[in-house]
């Protein structure tokens, strides 16, 4: 299966982590895939009609999958989850400890334009020191890449299957 190969590739291709002591090893890719697939099927079978809202949900589902797979140890995953949860309900479901916010050794300086931009891009990047920000950004990038690959493979697979089905549908029709 093309998708499986992609999945395998995803599973095997792991970005080298030169700083194992600093950055935690990335979780297994298959767990993210499975989780996402589950959620995807869930979302798809909802009664929701408009594709845009579904797209929204799917996007959020993807983000939450990413965040879950990354684990609660990453600040960005926590922040992302918090953001997602807050969208649905006002009170946050989870109140994970935020040591970074509480213990601010360094106040994030808004001087550097690039740094500020990075903080905006990475979820939860506002309250972190620069060092930590870079760390989180790296992890976030890894997760994003994995998520994108996963979704892309699903899309490809589905389009492939869809086309196959279409062809198979047509054939019996032709024969008929």
């Amino acid at each position: 299966m093309g998708v499986i190969d992609i999945m395998d590739a995803k599973g095997t291709s792991s970005l080298g982590n030169p700083n194992p002591n600093i950055l935690t090893p990335h979780p297994s890719k298959s767990s993210v895939a499975i989780r996402f697939l589950r959620v995807l099927s869930l979302v798809r079978h909802t009664a929701s009609s408009s594709p845009s809202s579904r797209a929204c949900r799917i996007r959020r589902a993807a983000c939450s999958c990413m965040a879950y797979s990354a684990g609660p140890r990453r600040a960005w995953s926590r922040a992302l989850l918090r953001k997602l949860v807050r969208r649905r309900r006002k009170p946050p479901r989870r109140d994970l400890p935020r040591p970074a916010a509480i213990i601010r050794r360094r106040r994030p300086v808004g001087g550097d334009r690039l740094e500020v931009a990075l903080r905006r891009v990475v979820p939860g990047g506002a309250g972190m020191e620069y060092c930590r920000l870079l760390e989180e950004a790296a992890d976030y990038v890894k997760c994003l890449v994995m998520q994108v690959r996963l979704m892309q493979s699903i899309v490809d697979f589905e389009s492939h299957v869809h086309s196959v089905n279409k062809r198979s549908e047509i054939d019996p029709g032709d024969r008929n």
């Binding site: 395998d8 982590n17 767990s31 869930l42 979302v43 798809r44 909802t46 994108v148 699903i154 869809h162």
Partner: protein, 521 residues
């Protein structure tokens, strides 16, 4: 340990040299070794790995104090096993430098007591701690040399710079001989007079390695015969009463020995070099306890408490122009100041931070495609930001695409995918799978049944499937049999259906917890 006071009003004719060897590690004991016959004893002691050697010189009118606590403060990296502890409280008599010089070889601090009186009080014969000296690796006490040199050369040097020091030829010779302190002009050593404080602030003992190197070099130079003029210059530079701190390498930097050796080689030309090489590595190898930074702070305080501190100005260090820079990270961050760089604790911390940042940037560079050629932080950051934004946009786009696909097809596809995935990857750690399980129902409260179905679709093993179902039902309190599965055109429908039938009998919820790992999803 209490500080002991040594009183010496006269210079010992015998040329007794008093060495204080701080106790190993935290033991703030110092062994004062006095050998009447400096040569042989010291040689032996010198061969040891010693790291500290304190000459206590007191500036108050001929009294010197071993400030034990102060010394203790200095974290001696000396691994020297035997630095015997036991500061002696001795009121030594007579022979001691009137301006006793205390040099503490501590990982970075040396307190040099300003010597006011011209006499150098050299230990007391009582001290007999020569035995304890064993541990002192004076070896070629290069390292010690500065100190040792101080001791030995003191008489020599002092004549010019410190005129108050008695020039005792016999003593000088003895000192020179035993300490192998090179040829002996330890002119580089300044004993200073008045300032009690060793501008320890500079000392960030931390950076010390470099400074130490510097010191050694300086000393070496002085050894090599720099004239008293140099000394004078140095003195002048330092200013009267300025204290110089010799910072000793705190950390046992593994790589340092080599580099230091190289540095030393490069730096010093002569005789002392060999000696230095020997001692320096020893010193460097001494394990450092605690982070440099923390120690630097403590050492700072220590310095203040210390009687004498010998400092080397960073200027002087820069003058020497070594390329020695070592950076070793251990549990705590141990940093050695690079040559020619400020050894301020702040700047060192800054440097550490900068290194961390650059390390992370490099890692990011690997992650982001096409950034290997980019140099410069700004451009890199820009690239990274763009990349992250593009990834986010891709996710959104793909999610839109996924939303648009026909659900019927998708379901089968997903199931198939999941099945294949499970087959290929086996049962990975599925414990994590449970938490989202619990969450999803919350997140999508209206789709319990679908989740249920989804799970059933995904499960490949009947028992795990059962567990999954039970989990699901436990989580959502939902016990419907998964008959809502839509008709699938894919051949494994039957399998699914049978599995679902199985799932109709929910097993105990405990399975979820106990067999979480078996859950293949």
């Amino acid at each position: 340990m209490s500080s002991s006071r040594l009183k010496g009003s006269e210079v010992e004719d015998k040329g007794i040299i008093l060495f204080l060897f701080p106790g190993q590690s935290k033991d703030k004991s110092f062994t004062v070794a006095v050998s009447e016959d400096p040569l042989p004893r010291l040689e032996t002691s010198i061969d040891m790995n010693e790291n500290k050697f304190v000459l206590n010189s007191h500036h108050d009118g001929g009294e010197w104090q071993f400030n034990t606590p102060a010394m203790s403060m200095v974290p001696l990296p000396l691994s020297a096993p035997s630095l015997a502890g036991g500061l002696m409280n001795q009121n030594t008599r007579s022979s001691y430098l009137s301006t006793p010089m205390v040099e503490v070889f501590s990982p970075g601090q040396w307190n040099h007591h300003p010597t006011s009186s011209p006499n150098m009080a050299l230990g007391e014969s009582n001290f007999a701690s020569t035995s304890s000296i064993n541990s002192i690796p004076v070896g070629k006490p290069v390292a010690i040399s500065p100190r040792g040199m101080l001791v030995s050369t003191a008489p020599r040097i002092f004549p010019t710079s410190l005129p108050h020091f008695p020039v005792d030829s016999a003593f000088v010779e003895r000192a020179a001989r035993f300490s192998c302190f090179g040829s002996g002009n330890f002119s580089g050593i300044n004993f200073f007079s008045s300032s009690p404080a060793m501008a320890p602030s500079n000392n960030e003992g931390i950076g010390d390695q470099v400074q130490k190197d510097e010191l050694l070099q300086v000393d070496h130079e002085s050894l090599n015969g720099s004239t008293m003029k140099n000394q004078g210059d140095q003195n002048s530079q330092i200013g009267n009463g300025e204290s110089r701190v010799v910072i000793f390498p705190e950390d046992g930097l593994e790589g340092n020995t080599g580099s230091t050796d190289a540095a030393l080689n490069s730096s010093s030309s002569d005789r002392g070099v060999n000696k230095r090489r020997k001692t320096v590595p020893d010193i460097e190898r001494d394990p450092v306890q605690g982070g440099r930074q923390s120690s630097s702070e403590t050492t700072k305080e220590n310095i203040e408490n210390k009687q004498k501190v010998e400092q080397i100005n960073s200027k002087q260090i820069e003058k020497n122009g070594k390329d020695n820079s070592e950076f070793v990270k251990e549990g705590y961050v141990h940093v050695r100041a690079r040559r020619g760089q400020a050894t301020n604790s702040h700047s060192l911390a800054e440097r550490v931070r900068r290194e961390k940042i650059s390390e992370r940037m490099k890692y990011l560079q690997e992650l982001v495609p096409g950034c290997s050629k980019v140099t410069g932080k700004a451009v890199m950051l820009d690239e990274i930001i763009n990349y992250v934004q593009s990834l986010q946009r891709q996710v959104e786009f793909l999610s839109m695409k996924l939303a648009a696909v026909n659900p019927q097809l998708d379901f089968g596809i997903e199931g198939l995918l999941a099945k294949n995935l499970l087959r290929t990857h086996g049962s990975s750690s599925s414990a994590t799978g449970f938490s989202p399980e619990m969450i999803y129902p919350q997140a999508y409260p209206s789709q319990h049944n679908l989740v249920h179905t989804g799970i059933s679709a995904m499960a490949s093993h009947s028992d795990t499937f059962r567990r999954a179902i039970s989990t699901q039902s436990t989580a959502s309190g939902y016990k419907e049999s998964p008959l809502q599965v839509q008709p699938m055109h894919i051949p494994w429908n039957e399998e699914l259906i049978t599995q679902m039938a199985y799932g109709a009998n929910p097993s105990n919820p405990q399975n979820m917890h106990s067999k979480a790992d078996d859950f293949a999803i």
